[in-house]
Symmetry: C2
Subunit: 417 residues, 2 copies
């Protein structure tokens, strides 16, 4: 089944918010062995919505719309769908009931049946919304299906989880099992992998499905999309790919086989090795800790961090010697090591990672320009550090610094196997 997403959201095209519903939908579809064909984002204008529906239905059997179901005059999705399908908008007691119950649940007074929430295109059904007020809707035109959910990420997700697969079950019988196998590498550029390192690799992987290669912040991810009629068939393909990788020189650049994030891999490894860790963060400003604590279960190994943004805090909370900082510089391997040691001692950690660098736009010096970062590592009494140089704006540099620090943390846990 070809699935298209129509995002109705001027706010995305104005740069006010970044769309997250595409990712939510694609991960949801994949977990049900489906995939997203395309996503179109249009403004909250009737003609744009109409053209969008028309375009997506040329290739897709199911169009999911996001947004434009709310109560304000710029919410035009239902009217646009009705016009597109040449149907009337009618009062729906089911829709009114959904909205009314949602108002009760949130302890709010229902505005009455004249309210826009109570109206739907003819022959559409109202879908309960467990995370907000507006009912979703679902309907068909011949064998073309429309599923409309609110654009608020939490409501969009709830709507998918609560209804989509149930509604599609008649269409989904007998479909294939899909998987995307992710080979996560670091420290080798994209074209070297398929060039001098292993010229046959792409071709070999292609015998299992569609191959794509993607530079990401951690390095290069190679994705192989496979399908099979059964879960057992998928498993055989996974084993075949693993065998090829074991025999390839790429093997030593692979830090993970699977779609998990770096922080998930770190937490899993720390739990299995019972390593309690934390960060002394300066230039990353909390980002390392934030990423780790996004992982459920991280609290059993992540003890805490000190964000020592000001020099005085590096001294008072981490015990970094002020004179040594003046000599070596705040951004130096000596300071990074002192920060890591101080943190490990104060927080009684097995492993401490420190980050001190210049994220810009101000700061830096001729020999240590903006983009320079020193990463320190204290692991069961052993100190080490490295100095690296990255490029980008402030947020990009924070991301790159944090990525390098997390990668250093993962490697430290691997080396001391």
């Amino acid at each position: 089944m070809q699935v298209g997403l129509l995002i109705i959201a001027s706010e995305v095209l104005d740069g006010k918010v970044a769309d997250t519903n595409t990712q939510t939908l694609s991960l949801f579809l994949r977990s049900h062995h489906l995939e997203l064909s395309q996503t179109l984002t249009v403004r909250d204008h009737p003609a744009a919505i109409h053209q969008g529906l028309d375009f997506l239905f040329q290739a897709c059997q199911l169009v999911i719309t996001s947004g434009g179901l709310g109560p304000t005059p710029d919410d035009l999705t239902k009217a646009a769908i009705a016009t597109f399908l040449q149907r009337k908008i009618i009062f729906s007691s089911a829709a009114m009931q959904v909205a009314q119950e949602n108002y009760q649940r949130f302890d709010r007074v229902f505005p009455g049946k004249e309210h826009g929430y109570s109206f739907l295109p003819e022959h559409f059904m109202a879908l309960p919304n467990s995370a907000g007020y507006a009912p979703g809707l679902y309907g068909a035109d011949g064998n073309r299906l429309i599923f409309s959910a609110p654009g608020v990420p939490r409501e969009f997700r709830a709507m998918l989880e609560d209804h989509l697969i149930k509604l599609l079950s008649p269409q989904l019988k007998g479909s294939k099992f899909l998987d995307a196998i992710v080979i996560r590498t670091s420290k080798i550029p994209e074209e070297k992998i398929f060039g001098e390192l292993d010229t046959k690799l792409w071709q070999k992987l292609e015998s299992f499905g569609e191959v794509s290669s993607l530079p990401v912040i951690s390095g290069v991810d190679i994705v192989v999309k496979t399908s099979s009629d059964s879960e057992a068939g998928l498993e055989l393909k996974r084993q075949g790919i693993d065998k090829i990788l074991q025999a390839s020189p790429l093997k030593s650049y692979i830090w993970h086989l699977g779609a998990e994030s770096l922080e998930q891999v770190i937490v899993t490894r720390a739990i299995s090795k019972n390593i309690r860790f934390g960060f002394a963060e300066s230039a990353t400003g909390g980002l390392c800790s934030h990423r780790i604590t996004n992982v459920a279960g991280s609290s059993s190994v992540f003890m805490g961090s000190v964000i020592s943004y000001a020099e005085a805090v590096k001294t008072s909370e981490l015990g970094v010697d002020a004179a040594s900082m003046a000599t070596h510089g705040v951004v130096s391997q000596a300071t990074a090591e002192a920060m890591a040691r101080g943190l490990a001692t104060h927080l009684k950690l097995d492993l401490a990672v420190s980050i001190t660098g210049y994220a810009g736009p101000g700061g830096g010096s001729a020999d240590k320009p903006v983009g320079t970062v020193c990463i320190g590592l204290w692991y069961q009494g052993q100190l080490s550090s490295q100095q690296l140089r990255f490029y980008g704006d402030r947020e990009q540099l924070k991301n790159r610094f944090a990525q390098a620090a997390l990668m250093a943390l993962l490697e430290a846990m691997a080396e001391n196997a």
Copy 2:
């Protein structure tokens, strides 16, 4: 000028990465008084790229493409453009030179002129890429324009900044000045604003341009898009909107007039009032500090934070009494206040904000379920706290907790004016 963005990226449709280029482009265009009409994301398949170009050119004079310019076999953009315009792909010494110089800049060996980087559709020009290897391209077909940039966010952005406006200058003469005025509110739901609070507000604002209303994590943002033939004309419209807001009961719910983020507003206010602050973060795990340190210049007021994820760290680094935690609970107003006081004392702050809560999926209790958070505030010796309840998954709860903590910080600085 109508501008469309074609994102060529299977990885986005597979949920592997979230697109950020739409936001980069829309903010870039807006800063040059242009706007983005629509964004279409397609897979790395020749037919899908072809259809995407065809669709976007029905409404747009300029199509910007992102992605598919790299060196691997799934990079198909140039071939698809050539097919779409019925042109040949030819060797371009200018393209080769761009790629060659990029290789030199990054100290890498150029793979030779047969490399895909050296080829372009006929009558297209190669664009230097200051942030990566692959040349961009620019060409026309009648009055339709195509601008192609790599999909890597840093390269996409550099390509826009380095080339786009210069290339478009002949087309941009005499265009209008645009602005989007953002009215940022909190603590009042969308439909109350335009319902019982101020029934005429939408209509009044509409006399200045297109109005839209957007629920965001901080509350509701109302956006008024205006245009004028001059900067002075725009300024008059801004003043008119401000006058309407001053007279509206919405006034007391507005926390900011402008597109700045909450963290930017906080840093600006803290600088103007010379308030040095920091966080004692538990459930938010570093997110508050991360958001604040995304703001350039934050280091003059943000001193640092303690992320006290483990109870032992709350005691050792913040001096929270273990017995009191056992009595009141780790998630309690008493613990939140003790954390804030401890942080302020240790870090010598004017203002300390603490966060302790249950972000889930585990944890919580019958009377304090997952989603409960306590926020403590220490401001020049005065302690206060609040307990709040939110809904969502782990990441959503972290976001909501952080948002509430930052809003409390902003309000504290306002009240003590």
